[in-house]
Subunit: 121 residues, 2 copies
């Protein structure tokens, strides 16, 4: 086998920067036609179509036909799995030990950076 299944779930869909940009654009501007999206994000039309196909297949966008155009819109429900998964960790870093844990990590991290002399971004 090679690379495990990819374009099959939301996690993989949003791993692509271009696709994230599409979603953000839809989040702000609402419904948009393919060409519009392509233009705004500086990508070719086929490229946009392909990404939109992926997003549609994993349920992150919905399409509506309007004459020659196809208006794509965000479907936030598709992000739920991701949101929930990540949420599990948020709890952890907020609740556990009331932040003490993170505090300890920061200390350790700071100490390491002092020693190794390489600076984080």
């Amino acid at each position: 086998m090679a690379r495990a299944a990819t374009t099959s779930d939301a996690f993989n869909a949003i791993a692509e920067p271009q696709r994230r940009k599409i979603l953000v654009l839809l989040l702000r501007g609402g419904e948009r036609a393919v060409t519009e999206l392509a233009r705004d994000l500086r990508m070719s039309q086929p490229q946009a179509s392909k990404h939109l196909r992926v997003l549609r297949e994993v349920g992150l966008v919905q399409v509506r036909e309007a004459g020659k155009q196809r208006l794509y819109d965000l479907d936030v429900r598709g992000l739920r799995p991701v949101n929930e998964w990540v949420g599990g960790f948020e709890k952890f870093w907020n609740e556990t030990f009331d932040g003490l844990d993170e505090y300890m990590r920061d200390l350790k991290q700071a100490r390491q950076e002092e020693l190794s002399d390489d600076d984080d971004q």
Copy 2:
């Protein structure tokens, strides 16, 4: 070019199911050695090491040396970018129109499913 940068950020790191499992395991059990992780998740030791390397490089785990072993632990801070990005959408689906929007989508979705006769998982 081909596939854009991948194992370079948290989004891509968590796109891999195996890596997500590792993170969850660390979330629950805390610090663990490589072999332990490999055993629990039924993967080879090299496989585990490679995944851990990726997770380390994007800042999702931290390592601590303990004799022959290397204990990996979760570093939730690495998940922040993801959490924040997804959070932007959560706001949307909660605030906008006080849920009316989602309600509309559900209606449309239901209608579509009725018509197309294919059932969702």
